[in-house]
Symmetry: D2
Subunit: 365 residues, 4 copies
Amino acid sequence: MSSNIGRAFKVQIFGESHGKMVGVTIDGMPAGIPIDEEWLNAFVQRRAAKGSAIATARRESDIPRIVSGVNEKGRSTGYPITAVFENSDTHSSDYSFLPDRPRPGHADYPAITRSMGEDDLRGSGHHSGRLTLPHVFAGGVAMLLLKQIGVDIAAHILQVGNVKDAPVDPVEPDMDALHQCHTREVPALDAAVGDRMMQTILDAKARLDSVGGIVEVVAAGLPAGIGAPYFDGAEAAIAQQLFSIPAVKGVEFGAGFGCAAMPGSEYNDPYYVEDGEIRTERNAAGGLLGGISNGMPVIARCAFRPTASIAKEQQTVSLSAAAVGDDAEVTLIVHGRHDPCVAIRAVPVVEAAVAIALADLYLQG
Amino acid sequence: MSSNIGRAFKVQIFGESHGKMVGVTIDGMPAGIPIDEEWLNAFVQRRAAKGSAIATARRESDIPRIVSGVNEKGRSTGYPITAVFENSDTHSSDYSFLPDRPRPGHADYPAITRSMGEDDLRGSGHHSGRLTLPHVFAGGVAMLLLKQIGVDIAAHILQVGNVKDAPVDPVEPDMDALHQCHTREVPALDAAVGDRMMQTILDAKARLDSVGGIVEVVAAGLPAGIGAPYFDGAEAAIAQQLFSIPAVKGVEFGAGFGCAAMPGSEYNDPYYVEDGEIRTERNAAGGLLGGISNGMPVIARCAFRPTASIAKEQQTVSLSAAAVGDDAEVTLIVHGRHDPCVAIRAVPVVEAAVAIALADLYLQG
Amino acid sequence: MSSNIGRAFKVQIFGESHGKMVGVTIDGMPAGIPIDEEWLNAFVQRRAAKGSAIATARRESDIPRIVSGVNEKGRSTGYPITAVFENSDTHSSDYSFLPDRPRPGHADYPAITRSMGEDDLRGSGHHSGRLTLPHVFAGGVAMLLLKQIGVDIAAHILQVGNVKDAPVDPVEPDMDALHQCHTREVPALDAAVGDRMMQTILDAKARLDSVGGIVEVVAAGLPAGIGAPYFDGAEAAIAQQLFSIPAVKGVEFGAGFGCAAMPGSEYNDPYYVEDGEIRTERNAAGGLLGGISNGMPVIARCAFRPTASIAKEQQTVSLSAAAVGDDAEVTLIVHGRHDPCVAIRAVPVVEAAVAIALADLYLQG
Amino acid sequence: MSSNIGRAFKVQIFGESHGKMVGVTIDGMPAGIPIDEEWLNAFVQRRAAKGSAIATARRESDIPRIVSGVNEKGRSTGYPITAVFENSDTHSSDYSFLPDRPRPGHADYPAITRSMGEDDLRGSGHHSGRLTLPHVFAGGVAMLLLKQIGVDIAAHILQVGNVKDAPVDPVEPDMDALHQCHTREVPALDAAVGDRMMQTILDAKARLDSVGGIVEVVAAGLPAGIGAPYFDGAEAAIAQQLFSIPAVKGVEFGAGFGCAAMPGSEYNDPYYVEDGEIRTERNAAGGLLGGISNGMPVIARCAFRPTASIAKEQQTVSLSAAAVGDDAEVTLIVHGRHDPCVAIRAVPVVEAAVAIALADLYLQG
């Protein structure tokens, strides 16, 4: 078990939901890169619950405290960058059903099995979505590095329940539109679609239920030649990052699962030259061929399962009863404070995950 | 760039398509595990082109030569296991269009950019599907380890073009049926579907074209509690392995992308106890919750793009012409020897990839 | 560049001497191990400057704040353990000679060259001996793990200048005596020798100079069979840890450099059986044969160069003058606050380093 | 347990002494570096037993077969370089005393304990000095990389028994003299000293005994700024590599253990400028300050214990007798084929080890 990742841009997260702090150390950031703390704060805030009707009621200031790795000039020292986030607004009593009655659809049962009960499971402990906070921060630092080579990363919410936003243009994605939609409560490209997504989420909440979603992300400006075949392939690295986000259950690039039904003559993307640059016409490959960038926009989508913690009564088992062979079937109503659709607040986490993967590949050369 | 992967069960592949050998070193196999070479040979042979009308005409014996790590008793020594495969049937002249005219849809262009022309690109060099041979071997060794704890892994071809096989039962997958279908040329569960897939592939070949596909894989018998949250999550680890296979463009677990449209009350899977074992009713999560196994079958699907090398004339550019600003647009007809649907022979590679990921997580404890 | 180490017991340190915090994340500690915070505090305090005439005048409380990885029962959760230490007593003005006039014998010049001036060099930044504080903490956690299998680690100061303590008995080291000597200001086994070492250090200080030393460390109770051949050999792992401590310039095991002059018949250590245990008679190998423990006490020694920062006038160069070809030779008097003999306070750091290496090997199995 | 090392220049060795092959994969070599196979062969041959009276009688051709990673232009492809060495001249019957009667001073007993008897112990299996063959090859490849930046590495035998060669000049080492002494059977700088060392070894052999030694190595031409503080320090990295060589029991840099008795004013090395280059006067630090190169020659020494396998009768135990509580003390005479002084043939291994460590640090930037 490791809560770290990366060969060159190495990210180590730590903390439990109801512990003293969560945080992250980034080891391998080159020296001399401007660390714009104001921008980093704003990026991290995009993940925060902002009092919206569709977000958890938990309130944390979530201001990163950078404690190492940045010099007096506001640039990276080349040594580990660590940021910590104090936990304050914790309601541990909400989790009194644990560790005996695991939530369906949640990591409770396998986590308890794994650690033989030593987890600090309040608020899901180290499994909590709160750990996406240091994850996002690390992604923000990766973006500051990638900005130096002209890479711009942005995501939007593509689907909530059965409501679908328009996908980005794979050849000429409108990055401005992507960035602008982040100011909305539901960051869909089409504001009207966002409103319908909002209604879908409110409906789910009203039914004491939750709903899934899909996030689409674009990395524009990545030069050709970043990545590698096989295990360090860009698809492999980005997917490992995306599946690290709690609740992600599917990842695809470019035409993705749709490519199964395509002939090669349609999927293969003819090259041409424009203004001295080699480009392709359709970008069905999502900017990545055999693990390496081809200079076209990198396009990925990831599916989020519905929030596991719902207020509706569910069937579960009492682990203690099961252990001694007693009748173990019990019901459970989860109170706590939970977003009814985790995909919404996950949008910047998806951007962060892609940024970390690309920063690591870029630094490996 | 690294052609290795794993924290505890470490796999290092090496070789180029038209070099002297491809091979693999597995570092971290525990001592004393029976290494059934006959079974390993048979497993590796499943990946081979067997003279089928739908497979490459390249013929290699593909018998693994195990040169280290197995003792006189036929058991692992605990030290690195290395297997090598001689290359013999190479037709380098088929690749005379490289490095100047990169194939659309293929890694040629980004690979050349990445290595500044130092790749040995004949037969795609280190990018070649031939490297899936040591990958499969390593997966076979991982399976020998996992067999010790009762894990059984098998895959089938779920889709070719628009022809679809029935998905496995997520709660009670028929492992025998999965294993039995491997004797067929197209390993679909439903033999009639397999025949239609075969026809789809032959049609594509006749049109000098290729076609994509989807492979579905099951790991049954994995105990609850294997995996970890975040970066070492089972979904992340399996996905990294699956996307390492050339041509994979999408990966999903359980309900996968379908979960976006599901309410939590449907996706969440009630627990119950049967014969003293904790089980779930629907397994929408594909056996993995928050990165950790819950004791239900692990179910994943991965999408393969159509084969990039097709005999149809395609549009590409002359890199040398582009470099000096000349008119660079040229056409290309790829001869060589290529499967029209890489998904077919990829079935054991998918099994191998899942086995390596699970062996690594299992050994990490 | 990485400030992390370890394959199974992974240690990531962070912080700069004059930054906000130094700290450490330990990833890979098994779940359920008692974390005795009181003992950890006491262990970390052994490294602290205690107002002694021979220690730096810098005063920090140096109480570890454990922010993650320990559950309500006071046991490890199995997830990352992070401890942070606030920096408070910093006198940055003492370092006004940097970055232009590097101290002889110190990392200033290579560090500036390495990071092209982006280090935070006040107090030596990330190079500072202050980073041994999280290093010691991590070692304390490693000791808590090793205690579970009966390993006891203790060191003493073997030499300061030309004053030498008696080496430990390699076959039956007196662990109690080693632990007891830690209460003295100079932790020599022979108190009278310690007094002479103290005088040697005070004399050096009076001359505005510094002095080197040797620390000897014992790990008793390590079972046979821990370690591996080659790169994960115990000697390799312990040496990597010991040379990570700033100022260490030599490491040897058992008879060490003395083995060059020994015949095999004297160095080789006959086995015998005592009370059912296999033991050796002389332990010239220092408990390690070919990278693996043989059940005898592990014995290592490491040499510390004299403190580089001395108040005596020294010759150095002005890097800015050198860069433009001007006459660059200048003199330097370092004020700051520095121990005249770093080996004294390094005694618990040496113990910590050995503990981390052994914990990592032990967990790798 | 891992038989691999390195973060950027990654070396994976494999093989057992009496298995089919030993070999190595180097992952991370940049593309486009000339791979001079003739020079590599010659370098590897320096390690071979050449029919000398003081070397093992085992004869292997030891010609590396490079099977991947080198393109048609004789340059690195950037993908893994693998070299294999067939084993042929194996006399397994010489090891009939194993696994029951472990050799004193040898890894037999801890190795058997570690792997619970699954090792292939003939010829010491994976613990064998034969594994230094792929180690040397990897070092040769590292040297080809380092040559690109002007680094030159050479070692000599400094001590055998009580016979001592002159140490190199730490400020202006005579690299030509070092290279030239490699043509001698005993590579001492002073040929007469070499003759006396030879006599010492022959005397030991005549007494059915063995003798230890010390090797001194220099890396000249390394630019300032290579390395890092702490765990990736150059001293730590080089020491890990050197202690990976079987039989090494001590490592020191520059003044080494002698620094304990030195005052800082003598150890600290004044900087001056000569021909625009920053240099130091004495190089007591051995070219490394706080883990980073300062531009002066890197100087290290390592101590080799005497060969463990001697023909003299020795006391050991029968493990099977000990296991059941019987009288276990037995005697052992080792026949086999063994060098009486492993330090002699280790000279190129020491050079290789230093090269690998420096190549890894250099590539990490």
